[in-house]
Symmetry: C2
Subunit: 336 residues, 2 copies
């Protein structure tokens, strides 16, 4: 079978074959091998790691499916793993739901599934339960993936945006906007190929270096909506304002060039491997050092602070502060 | 805003408004209210109920979105809840991912969300984490939903299809094919409106009546692919054969009529509120009695048994046995 057919989404033989020949062998693990309607996970394996379960989901509809630095499969593992990991949890288990368009080349599906499997394996994550639906040609665009993920939050980690207070410092774990700029360049044919690459990565190892680090109060990964969206979330949850400093934002030259070309702000660009971290000022340098010691955090930087005056503001290169509104919408759709 | 726009799927203000005004208020619960990137669930609330976590996912792409007896929102709660519940677990938490087509009437989305919320509330399930994506007009057909669900499996329940053995009896919890026949009638305009209704229901209460019932060995809900698909799964997992008896299959007159009209078999039709249960012969009558005492199991019936000879067979009305193959595909796509 060279393409996905409607039969691959029915309860019949074709679906059984697809599950058996592709999913079961690529995602191979003891939970999946039981072939029940649900994965059955020993709760003791979770309680051994923490006292709360972190549970999160995302659907992935990115266009194009493959891009420098990743593909929709890698993204579907990284994105959900990171949403779990920023709680302090170690993501362990993922579910996976495919919605496939009739006629999708089987080669495309196979490449995406193997990419998911590889990314999950590298991160110590098991894809333990799943589902496949097929819709007619034109009823979906190629391939959508949903993943839901979970892991236990260690008892000693109590991060949360509500704890942020005036004087706390904001640290970003690396340069901004690489994922968004890469997709924008591909879609708009801007000709910056070769200079741009998505930062798509599972951040658990970086986050876990901060596990015993005093002063860490809150952490989110800055995906859709960029650092600006997370800053607004931090501000809303804490009741404080936020001031960021433009000169301190780590932005790669290719991303900066693309932003200047189009009049866009890298603060609004999606990332798929970057954290915004709120830290007590006294511990900020120590946190920065830990981040920079890790390959995923080399370009970490202090970019702002929590202030009394509400709202999110950016101090520009000439020292003038301007309000950063949350845009009505993003620069481009289907970024993740 | 009268329709869903691309901005509702971006990380900006429009998405925040949709989340705040629709999802947060409809699904309202303490986990969701924290507005973190992940729900944080006390593991003690799960370990108090069992020793294993049941975890399952399904995407829902049913066409049409609304049908007699339910809608895609109700289905998205029932379907995943049932996949968790057939392990013996009590489904407690759901994630929810929406993929919306630009231009979808906001009224449609609102009706679906409220239906999900009502179904979940009635079943004691909290929708604790979610995601919304919007794709351009024509890149998806109206509205897709993914849910992933979980609950703890009580320590004393050890159901599994591998335990089935020769001589065990197969019980179905009610009449067959109502969901599939309802959708087929709607889509093909067969004019049986008023007589057909989907059996879409959360089966936890029915399943829990069997919790302390000796002899229950395995249980699945017979959705896509119908009872036939589950029979094949039971046969494969146990290494036994299965023989079903046509005269004992509970099928409502309208469903039977539609099947005869089209030359289809109700055993292949999707259900959304029916169980196939494997039970030790000595306990079969007691299990049947318990099922029939519950409104969701009134039409329960013994329909067959596990036998030595491999394969799945049906003894017809004149006593002749024929092999029931697993069809290559289902009678109709996008049934769930």
């Amino acid at each position: 079978m060279k393409t996905v057919e409607m039969a691959h989404g029915s309860g019949g033989q074709a679906m059984q074959q697809l599950i058996g020949q592709l999913f079961m062998s690529a995602f191979d693990n003891p939970w999946l091998a039981e072939q029940e309607d649900q994965a059955r996970i020993a709760l003791s394996s979770l309680t051994a790691q923490g006292d709360r379960l972190a549970f999160s989901t995302d659907s992935y509809v990115i266009d194009p499916l493959f891009f420098p630095g990743g593909d929709i499969g890698k993204l579907a593992v990284c994105g959900t793993a990171n949403d779990v990991a920023v709680s302090g949890a170690i993501p362990r288990f993922l579910s996976c739901g495919f919605i496939l368009e009739e006629g999708l080349p089987m080669e495309t599906l196979t490449a995406v599934v193997h990419s998911m499997a590889q990314t999950a394996r590298d991160a110590g994550i098991a894809i333990v339960t799943g589902d496949t639906k097929v819709v007619q040609r034109g009823a979906a665009d190629k391939l959508f993936i949903n993943t839901a993920g979970m892991g236990a939050i260690p008892t000693d980690i109590r991060w949360g945006a509500q704890q942020l207070a005036v004087g706390d410092v904001l640290i970003v774990s690396g340069s901004l906007g690489c994922h968004g700029a890469t997709i924008l360049n591909l879609r708009e044919g801007l000709g910056l190929d070769g200079e741009l690459q998505s930062d798509c990565a599972v951040l658990t190892p970086l986050i876990q270096t901060l596990r015993n680090c005093p002063g860490v109060k809150a952490m989110r990964d800055a995906t859709r909506g960029g650092v600006n969206a997370v800053a607004h979330e931090f501000a809303a949850a804490s009741g404080c304002g936020i001031e960021l400093v433009e000169s301190q934002l780590p932005v790669k030259p290719a991303v900066r060039g693309l932003c200047e070309l189009l009049g866009l702000d890298p603060l609004n660009f999606a990332n798929e491997g970057k954290l915004l971290i709120g830290v007590e000022r006294a511990h900020a340098e120590a946190v920065l050092e830990k981040l920079r010691a890790h390959p995923l955090g080399q370009n970490a930087a202090i970019i702002g602070e929590m202030v009394e005056r509400k709202g999110v503001r950016l101090t520009g290169l000439y020292g003038i502060k301007r309000t950063l509104d949350l845009p009505h919408s993003e620069p481009l759709p289907r970024i993740c």
